[in-house]
């Protein structure tokens, strides 16, 4: 059952109970009113009976016409009052029937008395005695009727009290019923709504703290039951996704370990034969150089150069893979100071180069220091290399603000390159110049690109042949204010 249906049911039950109570009160009130009506009518009957008794008594005493007339009137009134039924119960109805019967009897006796009075001689003693008997009987009958009438009045009074008690009883019973219904509705709402909501709250807390295996298992067809089933389905899905991610992570970790083992082997085993090639070529040159002509010695030199070049390639490839494996340690670093130190050491190695540096200091970014050291080294070596044939060489390091973001740059006025091939710029082993013009392995910019990408940053280049190149990069994680 839906919660709305439950609510509707509770409301209907409550209203129904109140309506029932109202009907019972109305009925009980009717009882009181009808008993009161009976009592009033019986009081009237008793009053009329009393009047009748008085006028009858007067007539018996004086035998005058006025008393006779009054008796007739009162007697007719009494008969009218007794005509309609007053009681529905058998016992008072019987008493009332007695009253009616007795009223007929008294009327007959009174007429007999009147006829006798009119016809008799003034001193007929036998007749007088007979009249006296009738009179006495009349008065006794009247007395009995009066007693009956008072008894019926008392009966009605008792009925009123009884009906009033019943009203109180009905109200109390109704109130008890309402309390019971309210308690039942409360209990139902607690069991069906509040308790499941509390459990749901506990479940969300459990799941939030990472307990994916927590199950609600709230049965029922209402909204909460459905919510519980959806919740359980959701945690199941989450748990499965989580397990899937965990498996993928483990696979990735295994793959990483494999790559590491591979790198290790490359580093160790691939270099050994190169060392032999270079070493024994040199041994040949040194020990047997005099038996070779210039061409032979040239060949050996080429073998040595090739071995050494491959050694450098291996080292740089390892460097590239190390960039991926290193864990980032983010802190505020000064790229300007870093660039200045690199510039000084490069200048020391090649004091013959006449080159101007323009480095903005400080140039604070938030990044991994050791990786950015490698990136700056590569960018500056690049600039250094490609300005080697420029007469008025200038390398600039600084930053601009574009779209509210800090964008660093390394710019040179060297040979530049054709932007048509810019998409190949950051790939490993990609070169835009001949190695004979500018030596290099073609990995430097790939390493820079990977370092910037590891910082979730962006790097792009602008260049024109003969007019230099500028490398821009943005490090989001985050640039210091």
């Amino acid at each position: 059952m839906k919660i709305s249906a439950k609510g509707w049911l509770a409301t209907t039950t409550g209203l129904g109970t109140i309506a029932l109570l109202a009907v019972m009160i109305w009925w009980a009130n009717g009882e009181v009113e009808s008993a009161d009506r009976q009592r009033r009518r019986m009081s009237d009957v008793a009053r009329v009976l009393n009047d009748l008794r008085l006028v009858t008594f007067e007539y018996v005493l004086y035998r005058n016409q006025r008393a006779y007339q009054q008796e007739r009137q009162v007697s007719a009134r009494l008969e009218r009052q007794l005509e309609e039924p007053i009681f529905s119960d058998p016992e008072p109805s019987e008493t009332l029937a007695d009253l009616r019967r007795r009223s007929g009897e008294t009327r007959q006796l009174f007429e007999e008395l009147q006829a006798n009075t009119n016809s008799r001689a003034a001193d007929d003693s036998a007749q007088k005695l007979y009249e006296e008997l009738i009179s006495r009987k009349l008065l006794v009958l009247h007395q009995e009727s009066l007693v009956d009438a008072f008894r019926l009045t008392d009966y009605s009074t008792a009925r009123i009290a009884q009906a009033q008690q019943r009203v109180v009883g009905v109200i109390l019973a109704g109130l008890a019923l309402i309390s019971l219904a309210t308690a039942a509705a409360g209990w139902l709402i607690h069991r069906g709504v509040l308790a499941p909501i509390q459990r749901l709250q506990q479940a969300t807390r459990e799941v939030a703290s990472g307990n994916w295996s927590f199950r609600l298992d709230i049965a029922g067809s209402d909204e909460i039951g459905e919510m519980s089933r959806n919740f359980d389905a959701m945690t199941t899905t989450l748990r499965n996704s989580f397990a899937q991610i965990e498996r993928s992570n483990q696979e990735l970790a295994a793959l990483n370990r494999e790559i590491e083992a591979f790198s290790y082997s490359v580093s160790h085993d691939l270099r050994a034969p190169l060392r032999s090639m270079d070493g024994f070529s040199l041994a040949l040159l040194e020990d047997y150089g005099d038996r070779l002509d210039d061409e032979g010695r040239e060949h050996l030199s080429r073998i040595r150069a090739a071995s050494q070049r491959m050694g450098r390639l291996i080292d740089e490839l390892l460097g590239l893979s190390r960039v991926t494996r290193t864990e980032l340690v983010m802190r505020d670093i000064d790229l300007g100071a870093m660039a200045r130190d690199i510039a000084i050491s490069m200048q020391k190695l090649h004091p013959e180069r006449d080159l101007r540096w323009e480095i903005a200091e400080p140039l604070i970014v938030r990044a991994d220091k050791s990786l950015m050291q490698i990136a700056m080294q590569n960018l500056l070596e690049n600039a250094w290399k490609f300005t080697s044939k420029s007469p008025d060489a200038l390398i600039r390091v600084g930053s601009t603000v574009s779209d509210g973001r800090q964008v660093c740059f390394v710019a040179d006025n060297g040979v530049g390159f054709d932007m048509t091939y810019a998409d190949r710029l950051f790939g490993a082993f990609q070169r835009l110049h001949h190695e004979t013009d500018f030596p290099g392995t073609g990995i430097g910019l790939a390493i820079v690109h990977r370092i910037i990408r590891r910082h979730d940053g962006l790097i792009w280049a602008e260049a024109r042949p003969g007019q230099g190149a500028t490398f821009h990069f943005h490090l989001p994680g985050g640039t210091s204010p």
């Binding site: 290790y264 060392r275 270079d278 070493g279 040199l282 050494q308």
Partner: protein, 150 residues
Amino acid sequence: MSEQKAILLVEDNDDDVALTLRAFKRSHLMNPLVVARDGVEALDFVFARGAHAGRAEAPLPTLIILDLKLPRLDGLGVLKALRADPRTALLPAVILTSSKEEQDIVSGYKLGANSYVRKPVDFTEFVEAVKVLGIYWLALNQLPPRPASS
């Protein structure tokens, strides 16, 4: 330098052995060079056991040059065994290897290596490295007092 104690070279690659010998010769290092082909052989030589059980009075080498990647017991294992034994705990041991992986350098030093030298591809540089190594460890460095062997 009258006694000319032996240098133990632990190296499994024949070419590297030949090149190291050549580099020693070119650096004018006159110490006899003993070559062990793997870690177990190296420890057998140092502690005069196994194939080297009959080695007379077992003089310890003056310097051990260790490659890391070796058959059976690797270089780090040898280093650990050397440092665990009081007789060889202070013996100079230099790692000479192709790897420049940070993990190798760190664990080498952690296990008590005295130096970590990477073999360059360029043989001229290699000779230079061996020369500096020899001069430093055999001529300049003041060795710790030898524990009395019982």
